[in-house]
């Protein structure tokens, strides 16, 4: 494996949830330790199963792994870190200030950015305190901070301002306010990250076009701030031998080959490793050793993965229930890459056809725009509009800089500009654009392929900004409701669908989204498990095993997380165009 050649002191794995960062980090740590190096493995994965992988409890202290000499591990739960961080700020006033006030402050510190900064705060010492890590030659992290966090910590403006000078202009520190350590320590940590002699960043992705495009962006963003020593691992490739007359497997093999052939230019110069999909679960030492082994996986090895009995509601059941209302807002929500745009299109199309005469407005932020093109005009009751997230975000940034940035000095302005690069900014900008369309939901169906998180809604609601925004858009006419927040909270008017994949981390991430929405008083109406191999009822042994693994996740969705749910099969062909989109919402047993 090229990413383990001459490894520097720090190895960071980065990539979307579910691509296998933790497994690769574990396997790398084992490989290095068995080569005689002293290794510390650090997991900040909220779904960390490092303990399970090695068969012992680890937790938030450095723990030696008895089964692997030279290897120790440490688990940092970013949610716990964020909670501790909030407690530091809010704890002293809890019970002193009114509860509503305390709750408001806590919400401000409950966003994704706070969680990330808090996790970074926790492992800063591992990068800077030589005494703490003196016994280790390599420290392997299964996550990496985002470019946004690193840049924020580099800005001098982030450290002056409110707290030090009490200047209190229109800008503010946000989540940095609760940081415990000295600025010099963060600077040292960032310097360690940006030093190619000390740090290698391993990008992890699946062999999918959209995923590789996203990884290319991460690569460029992190390279621009100095993390220039990077490597790419493409994980979970279906071996060509696995196809064997199974149409779905053959289609996956072909699609993955196409994605690899079209590797984005930005990634072509990187050392690339390809790791095949394994016919076993990555638990236990033996499995980890075999993950990085070069031997061709025996794809035909059929050690009894049964053709699993699969019985779950299809998307059509949800579409029927939505159609019965005659109008309303349907919002799809989930992490990037789970297929929200495709499902939004499938639902909108099915609604337009199910209820002839009832207009449907599909509005999407699909960056590729090909979806809008293939659908627009295909069905006469279906309108398609597209919001370009980049354009909207750029417009929003300019607006904020012009209004709020005007009175700021150079440092304050740099900080504001960085704040405007946070993930929240795009979410707000896109939602602002969408909110122009929401008002139509009183008389037709409006299907949106994105939604703001509960955290954002709560903040928007607390400041009244959302109310103002929607009232402005409505211009005094249109829907009758008490507040726009109530429209989103009312299941008769708004249905929120959480989209996920049948894998551990994506389901966990979706559950977190749901908690966040519930905090805002929004109960997700249904969950959709997308791209399910189990629902495709595959024949190829490797896919059958994947299908069997999915069942536990689908069961968790059905019994623990969702009030109602549907499972959408992975299709042979990419679901583009009317006919294939309709396949997604076809009643079970008739389409696929």
């Amino acid at each position: 494996m090229r990413f383990l050649d001459h490894p520097p002191r720090f190895l960071f794995f980065t990539g979307k949830g579910g691509v296998g960062k933790t497994s690769l980090a574990c396997a790398s740590a084992v490989t290095l330790a068995e080569a005689g190096r002293r290794v510390l493995l650090v997991s900040t994965d909220p779904a960390s199963n490092v303990g399970q992988v090695f068969g012992l409890a680890i937790g938030n202290r450095i723990t030696a792994i008895p089964a692997v000499p030279n290897l120790s591990a440490l688990e940092i739960d970013p949610q716990d870190a964020a909670r501790a961080y909030r407690d530091r700020l809010v704890g002293p006033v809890r019970g002193v200030l009114p509860d509503a006030v305390v709750k408001g402050i806590e919400e401000q510190l409950s966003g994704a950015c706070t969680t990330e900064i808090a996790a970074f705060d926790e492992f800063t010492a591992l990068l800077t305190d030589a005494g703490l890590t003196a016994g280790f030659e390599h420290i392997v992290f299964d996550t990496a901070p985002t470019g946004h966090t690193i840049r924020l910590l580099q800005l001098p403006g982030a450290w002056s301002g409110f707290l030090e000078t009490g200047k209190g202009d229109a800008s503010c520190l946000g989540p940095l306010a609760g940081l415990e350590k000295q600025r010099s320590q963060y600077q040292a940590a960032v310097a360690a990250l940006a030093d190619p002699q000390r740090t290698r960043l391993v990008l992890v992705a699946r062999a999918q076009r959209a995923a590789l495009r996203e990884v290319a962006r991460t690569h460029e963003e992190l390279a621009a701030i100095g993390l220039s020593r990077q490597s790419l691992v493409i994980n979970g490739i279906l071996p060509s031998g696995a196809a064997q007359g199974d149409a779905l497997a053959a289609a996956i093999v072909r699609r993955e080959a196409e994605a690899l052939a079209g590797l984005p230019v930005a990634l072509q110069a990187l050392p690339v490793d390809k790791v095949a999909l394994k016919p076993f679960n990555l638990v236990g030492l033996d499995a980890l050793r075999r993950l990085l082994a070069d031997d061709e996986t025996d794809a035909t090895d059929d050690d009894g993965a049964e053709a699993c009995a699969f019985d779950a509601p299809a998307l059509s059941s949800l579409v029927d229930a939505i159609a019965a209302d005659g109008h309303g807002l349907v919002m799809l929500m989930g992490k990037g890459g789970v297929g929200k745009t495709t499902l939004a299109a499938a639902i909108a199309l099915a609604l337009a056809l199910a209820r002839r005469g009832l207009p449907v407005h599909l509005t999407t932020s699909d960056p590729a725009a090909h979806l809008a093109k293939t659908l627009d005009g295909a069905v006469d009751t279906l309108t398609v509009s597209r919001i370009d997230p980049r354009e909207e975000t750029e417009r929003y940034r300019r607006q904020v800089l012009a209004s709020k940035g005007a009175g700021l000095d150079a440092e304050g302005r740099a900080l504001l500009e960085e704040d405007l690069r946070s993930p929240c900014t795009e979410e707000i900008a896109v939602f602002q654009a969408f909110s122009r369309i929401i008002r139509e939901a009183g008389r037709k169906f409006v299907v949106m392929d994105t939604a703001p998180t509960g955290h954002t809604l709560l903040l928007l609601d607390a400041t009244g900004a959302y109310h103002r925004e929607v009232s402005r858009q409505m211009g005094g006419k249109g829907l009758h409701f008490s507040t726009p927040m109530m429209q989103l909270q009312d299941p008769e008017q708004t249905k929120t669908l959480i989209v996920t994949l049948a894998e551990t981390t994506p389901v966990l991430e979706a559950a977190r989204l749901q908690e966040d929405l519930r905090r805002a008083g929004i109960e997700p109406w249904a969950w959709v498990v997308n791209n399910s191999v189990a629902a495709s009822r595959p024949r190829a042994p490797l896919l059958r095993r994947r299908a069997a693994n999915e069942l536990a996740e689908i069961d968790a969705v059905a019994t623990r997380h969702a009030r109602r749910y549907a499972v959408v099969p992975l299709l042979d062909e990419e679901p583009v165009g009317v006919a294939r989109l309709l396949q997604l919402s076809a009643p079970a047993g008739t389409g696929v």
Binding site: V101, I105, L109, C172, A177, V400, G407, C424, T425, L460
Partner: protein, 119 residues
Amino acid sequence: MRTIQIFDPALCCSTGVCGVDVDQALVDFAADVDWARQNGARVERFNLAQQPLAFAENPTVKGFLERSGHEGLPLVLVDGDVAMAGRYPSRKELARWAGIVTIGVAPAQSACCSDSGCC
């Protein structure tokens, strides 16, 4: 010289979740505070989200929050006494409290509505 203390509501992060259209008053006020400081006034600001202890430790502010909630902010104290609540003071008011001679004081830069005349 009197001390003017402003207790701000939990100003959200500058990413603008407050919306883009709401902060002109804040921007103007920040400019007024700068102006007052340059003229020798002692002005302190506290943000509820970041310095909650400053709110909790001041009995006047704590009492105000208990009665009026955070919706009642901002709260302005002059030498510890409530001088204003619910809105930001104008440059004129700041000047009066701080004892700055205000002959020919210009309105805050970018007056809120140069063409609609609402000021």
